[in-house]
């Protein structure tokens, strides 16, 4: 009896300790989560406050105007917004099929001894700092494009109406296309490694069942692997797109930094982050600085829209899958 009486207070103490520990753990993790929200809100507020002089001055015209003139202090964001979207699109057009291809090869087709070297090579690609991509792009990749790929594109598409406007002009080597290609290389590892990870979560029993009823490899990938992993794949693509939209240094080196919208993707252009990186240090005058911050705010909005579209697409996919 005496022993049981002694044990009871010990039990409550232990229980209280557990409860305290739990509470502490909950609050610690919650604080970490709230911190992200506070940071995001703070950045948002700071951007809006910094951008407000420019937005008040130019109003909606800030988004629709192409002019970027520090001398007369007339600023419009259309050219950098256009450049940001087009370079990211080019990057995704190339990186998504190639990245998924690599991931499928690595998980489904690759002989085991090759798997690790290729996987590590892809991850190393992600570890290269963007400035290195920029320098490589300027000194190696751009001259290569200028002397081989671009003249070829110009001559091939020259006689085709519409397409000859897209591939027009003297081959400078640097421009929208070069920036898009560099971005494609930079986002490739993100898409590949995420796709590879989610592909390897497909239960072998599903694949074996499909092979068992006589499916080809292509049919297994198309009908089993991809549908099973589409949420994860879209997540990886979005991560890559987010990186492409915001990438600064490498793009600055190879895009040509011209505040102009040209029909040709061989022509120089600019992106939002490249413009900010180029001009912020020497921006004199409040409107100039404020316009650059407003560009930052626009990038924020664009990223938000992209993420919202991705969420919406996922939601629709899930609803379709549920039926």
């Amino acid at each position: 009896m005496a022993g049981a009486a002694q044990a009871a207070p010990g039990r409550t103490a232990v229980l209280r300790k557990f409860r305290l520990g739990n509470l502490l753990f909950l609050n610690l993790t919650r604080a970490a989560a709230v911190l992200v929200l506070v940071l995001l809100g703070g950045v948002m507020l700071a951007l809006i406050e910094g951008a407000s002089p420019a937005l008040r001055e130019f109003g909606f015209g800030f988004i629709t105007s192409q002019s970027w003139n520090p001398v007369t202090e007339k600023f419009g964001a259309l050219a950098p917004v256009y450049g940001t979207i087009v370079t990211s699109l080019i990057a995704m057009l190339i990186a998504v099929p190639v990245g998924l291809g690599i991931a499928i090869f690595l998980t489904e087709l690759c002989p085991t001894p090759l798997r690790r070297p290729i996987g590590i090579a892809i991850e190393l690609l992600a570890g290269i700092p963007s400035i290195i991509y920029g320098i490589w792009g300027l000194f190696v990749f751009a001259p290569f494009l200028q002397t081989t790929v671009q003249p070829f594109l110009i001559s091939v598409f020259g006689p085709i109406p519409l397409l000859n406007a897209v591939f027009a002009g003297p081959p400078y080597g640097i421009g929208i296309l070069t920036a898009g290609l560099i971005l494609a290389i930079m986002v490739l590892p993100f898409i590949t490694s995420i796709a590879r990870d989610v592909f390897s979560t497909v239960p072998p029993v599903l694949k074996e069942a499909a092979y068992g009823i006589g499916c080809t490899r292509w049919e297994v990938v198309k009908n089993v692997v991809l549908p099973f992993t589409r949420v994860g794949v879209i997540g990886g693509v979005m991560l890559g797109l987010g990186r492409a939209l915001g990438e600064t240094m490498a793009v600055t080196f190879v895009i040509g930094n011209a505040h102009k919208i040209s029909a040709s993707i061989l022509a120089p252009g600019t992106t939002i982050s490249a413009t900010i990186a180029n001009e912020f240090t020497e921006a004199v005058g409040d409107i100039y600085t404020s316009s650059l911050i407003a560009l930052g705010l626009l990038l924020f909005v664009i990223t938000f829209i992209v993420l919202a579209i991705a969420r919406y697409m996922l939601l629709r996919l899930e609803m379709k899958g549920g039926k």
């Binding site: 003297p170 930094n257 011209a258 490249a274 180029n278 240090t281 020497e282 004199v284």
Partner: protein, 348 residues
Amino acid sequence: MKFKSLAVAAGMAIAALAMPAAARADISGAGASFPFPVYAKWADAWNKETGKKLNYQSIGSGGGIKQIRARTVTFGATDAPLKGPELEKDGLVQFPMVMGGIVPVINVEGVKSGELVLDGPTLAKIFLGEVKTWDDAAIKALNPDLKLPSTAIAVVRRSDGSGTTFNFTDYLGKVSADWKSKVGSATAVEWPVGLGAKGNEGVAANVGQTKGSIGYVEYAYAKENNIAFARMKNKAGKVVSPEVKSFQAAAANADWSSAPGFGVILTDEPGDGSWPITAATFILMHKKPNDPAAAAEALQFFEWAFEKGGPMAEQLIYIPMPASVVKQVRDAWSAITGADGKPLAIAK
């Protein structure tokens, strides 16, 4: 035990952070990136000679102006001089420290360095996109003996805001009414044509590898990278080469007393030997500094640089100020005073 050692480590880290504040660098400056190499070299040599420290941050002219206005640094540095009323408003003194030249660099097949001659109006037309090929009549007229290819001209210019761009566009505005009305001059402008490259090194690299290109860089970059440059026809109608002699001629021929705070832009100066696109870089200081002791030391440093820094500057391909200008700068220093109203600079 673990916690204790952690606490000790943290304490040491904090102490290490606090140390520089206690024994802080005596003088701090911030601003233009163009003179950074020479300021850094001077600061190093001065430190060895006197034991005093100077910390210069190359954050760009715009940043330098902002910092000195906010009084967070002892001196600011800018490539584009402030105008009289702006200096008055903030109670600033401005003086030139060192000079450099801006040269057109080219990459044209069959044309060697220094062979091509350009004049201001033609240069402006090239950068306006009106002269499109190297065998254009305007270029041919200046170079009757050169065999020029029919290659398209690829214009390369700075993408970042820059004092180099400020001086270059100022020159184009002086020699071309079209340029003045259509583009104007500033540290960054709305370029009608061309590729933007970041920094002098970016322009140098792009011109080096793009056939048929023309750009503009600080003289030091053209010389160090061995890029072909063009000679220029100056205001007097004489063809001059970019070299220390022609840059100094431009400075000597300038009328420094004509603008408050020596705010003279050295482009398109008169004189037979003057290089037309010469540029000075300026120092900004408060007339009534918050920390007179630091300001006095900064003035000692500038005095030392004027006296002994010349050869070091020339090694780095900067051009020291002519003696006549240095004399005027010393006079201007008397406006910088301590709390007692006495000048901080030691009279020479």
